[in-house]
Amino acid sequence: MKSIGKFLAATSLAGSLLAASSAFSAETIKIGVAGPMTGANATFGEQVWTGASAYVNEVNAAGGIDGKQIELVKGDDACEPKQAVAVANRFVDQDKVKAVVGHFCSSSTIPASEIYADAGILTVTPSSTNPIVTDRDLDTMFRTCGRDDQQAVVAGGFILDTLKLDKVALIHDKDTYGQGLVDALKKTLAERGVEPVLYEGLTRGERDFNALVTKIKSSGATAVYFGGLIPEAGPLIRQIHEQGLAVKFVSGDALAQTEIVSAAGGPQFLKDVYYSSAADPKQDPDTAEAQEALKKANIAPDNYTLFGYASAQTIVAALKGSNNGETEAQVDWLRNNAVKTAVGNLAWNEKGDVKDFKFVFYSFDDKGAPVAAN
């Protein structure tokens, strides 16, 4: 009996080895997509995933890269740095991905990208705007979005020159993205000789910011700049209105989502709200092709869907441009070529930042649709 058992075990082992090797010979190109698929920011992860898979489906339908199909692997980091590192290790060791779209939150992208850089894997984040992401001389790190220090300079100019307000309350959510953005703005304001009247961090996941709003009121601020995401921005905006504060609310690119309208409780609360974001991709003629493709696939062109789509386009372009070559060739190709993406024509500098990324300010009309503000 024992020997039969051993024999069975041996054959099943051989069988599984065979299965593994046949899966290998099918030769797909694996690309990881990492972001918050669960947790408070899951909506963003979903958008990135939807965008990236929409583009990959198109490429696969058109024959893939050199006849090889692309396979996307999902990684859920829940915007937790620790989990991001685990996802990165899995991508490198187990899934053996060729490139990564991600991560979403700057606080996740920063630790994960070190692992990708060590393994020589091309990484394109659709959304991490913190300067550190590309400031560490990691050759493999690219982004399709802007940088917070660029965004902060634009925001400083907008508040001081366009809105003509100089009593600014700076509020952040104590996360890498939010606090990074607010700190960069603080520096920009200091260069213009303006000290913020208030600098506070709120707790992510809470809904009641009334105490903070009362504090903003007593600080005499005329403008509030918030660095953070929609789940906190919505209630904060609403409570500012409910307490009758006459302030302009300014924020960053995280607000470029239709759901801000429901999170704030309706368009009537968004009257004095402004946010900076990439120039509306939908107006850019270069993106017409991508728009058309998303429409055909019946996918809503949400902000991060477009950036996820664009990141996948960047990776596929680099793989094709380097003839599916080594990472160095891919990086080289991206530095010397421009890619026509869903968010416009992108070209990159040595660091991996988009050249001449433009931030534009938006406000909301009566129905909560974004309109250009300057």
Binding site: A42, T203, D208
Partner: protein, 305 residues
Amino acid sequence: MDFYILAQQLVNGITLGSIYGLIAVGYTMVYGVIRMINFAHGDVYMVSAYVAAITLAVLHSFGVDSVPFAIISVLVVTCFITGVYGWTIERVAYRPLRGSTKLAPLISAIGISLMLQSYVQVAQGARDQGVPVLVSGALRLGTDKDFAQITYMQLVILVASFVAMAILTYLISYTTLGRQCRATQQNRHISAVLGVNTDRIISSVFVIGAATAAVGGVLVTFNYGSFNFFIGFVMGIKAFTAAVLGGIGSLPGAILGGLVLGLTEALFAGYVSTDYKDVFAFALLIVILFFRPYGLLGRPEIQKV
């Protein structure tokens, strides 16, 4: 100016505190009867926010315009449906494990909590959802520029928590069900021997706990206007803290703990730093437990040897 700011922070703190208190009641009641923490309670609260929004949408589609009627019927429907969730959680996650180690139901409750979160995320999407503003406007005290205010919705919250607590106190102190609850709390085996159906009592406690969470969920949803599948986490932790602070197992303790926590947070955030308000709130919890290990109104558990 300063007086109005202080008054405003007190209003902020009391409203927040009474919500904490309402959710804390669920923790404290379950703990009182079976000496276990129901870690799925925060997510029951989250589910109630969704049920409230859906009920409101259904009422709206039937053309119900009266705001008081809408609020009351949403409250009733949500309490009922959320109560069913509470009952189910007890049947699925607690009752089968009642004879096993103390840690087993704790883990199964955490499992239920994750399950509810994922279920709502998949079924309703991860986006922030919103409900329209039902009650707007506020009572203002002071001049046009300097004033303290309490919004009508905040008034509704205070009144509703007061009424909910009054009903609950009556239920526990004066009804047969309440008497059986207290008996089960004191000694489950003896109560069973004396003819109390303790299984049914434990079920009712879960239902009542879930229903008070639903009152909180409805009020919070109408007050803050937006919610997602993750709101149960922070609220659950805060309410649990309130329950421990007030003395877990004690009903007035839960409300007192909630108010202390809410006021501490509002005043510390308002006068010192928002960044450190949670640090301070939890440091205060440690200090209070240091001097009163059973919380503000808790009674020490007597170990019979």
